[in-house]
Symmetry: C2
Subunit: 211 residues, 2 copies
DNA sequence: AGCGTTAACTTAACAGCGTTTAATTAACAA
DNA sequence: TTGTTAATTAAACGCTGTTAAGTTAACGCT
């Protein structure tokens, strides 16, 4: 409604209000289907008011992604405490997949559309910090297993191993998200697909065959 | 420019002209960035002329996808003649990946955005025909290897195996397409990633360890 | 107290989008 | 020669993200 100098706290509160509304709409119907005017309407402001807090729509998306990268990493954090290195990798994969499949529109936004470069200057996520960066978690866990020489001897690059695991899980999840409702393919149950992928990655990467 | 009753042949020619122009633009800059007016301009017609041949933009996309599904399957067809069943699966994976990585915008259109349901009524691609359907090719090749009991005994569903292979290759390609320019991850060489994924799938799925 | 400045916010407007409607034009059939 | 009709376009609609130009109310200053 009316203009009144706001404290920094109030400004942040409105910023968060915008983010929450945008996230809610994005998650429900996808980024492209949501309009600025709609976000404004939901929080009781005009669309242009949003531009006082975000440069453009992409900035909102980036900010949400940032938060969600943190949320993803945070959700996986406890898995790092599993003792067995192999079990830990598998658990990380399942945790990641659960996130992807239960927040498909989030996941699409984060990993299935080229993000606007996610400027590290701006991003609050500390790249490489396993507390905040899910890829760093995976890499850390893979490195531990690598140090114990659990992988096949021809695999000499832990990064390559981590990226292969990621790609495998991501492949299952992203195909599910984009083509689940496609009649073209006679899809098997998603849980089964995920499980077989996990087993295949383990069997294919580890030195000793799984019990 | 002007109006003159056209033969069916001429109509098809213009239809194809539209498709070719649209494909060129789509491939170069992605579906979303290309406008109807732009397609029209490229072929020397107004934007609205397109609507005499296609219901809407989605219809163009569908038609192009259809053609490209055929092109993909056709490009992979010769691989089916490889004798060794394992070698054949690997070659199919590489062929598929080569298509994805050398036509990223095509691939994005075909496998990374939920297509408008690709009505089988309209589609000219014969679903399940290995001559025309790349997934049918994979399934066929996997089935052959399955019949020879090359896969691990716990893998009792050939569909599940095929879908795992697809997901693995797709995971590598789609991550590359969407996140290659992302500074977040310290990406290994794409060829290396692809190769390790192939090897992992083979090692992880096959009964006997690879030589 | 009154005046200017300024922050917060809105309305109006712009350029562009996909698409629809209405108008134009040229060739054919009668 | 006149209608009819197919091919095409220009104009318009409602939408988008975004910008420019107001409007309004609170504050600091004289």
């Amino acid at each position: 409604m009316p203009p009144k100098p706001k404290t920094e706290e109030e400004r942040l509160k409105l910023r968060q209000l915008i983010l929450d509304a945008a996230r809610e709409l994005f998650v429900a119907r996808g980024v492209d289907a949501v309009t600025m005017r709609e976000i404004g309407r939901l929080i009781g402001y005009s669309a242009t008011a949003i531009y006082l807090h975000f440069k453009d729509k992409d900035a909102i998306i980036r900010a949400i992604c940032d938060t969600d990268f943190l949320a993803l990493a945070s959700g996986l954090k406890q898995i790092l405490q599993i003792a067995d290195p192999v079990e830990r990798i598998v658990a990380l994969g399942f945790g990641y997949a659960r996130f992807a499949l239960s927040h498909p529109n989030h996941y699409r936004m984060m990993f299935m559309t080229q993000r606007p470069a996610c400027d590290p200057e701006i991003s609050e996520v500390q790249q490489g910090n396993p507390e905040q960066d899910a890829y760093a978690q995976l890499k850390h866990v893979v490195q531990k297993a690598f140090d114990q020489q659990l992988f096949r001897p021809e695999l000499t690059n832990p990064d390559l191993i981590a990226q292969t695991i990621w790609a495998g899980i991501h492949g299952v999840c992203s195909l599910e998200i984009t083509l689940a409702n496609d009649t073209w393919v006679n899809w098997c149950d998603i849980e089964a697909r995920l499980h077989v992928m996990q087993q295949t990655l383990i069997n294919g990467l580890l030195r000793a065959p799984a019990p």
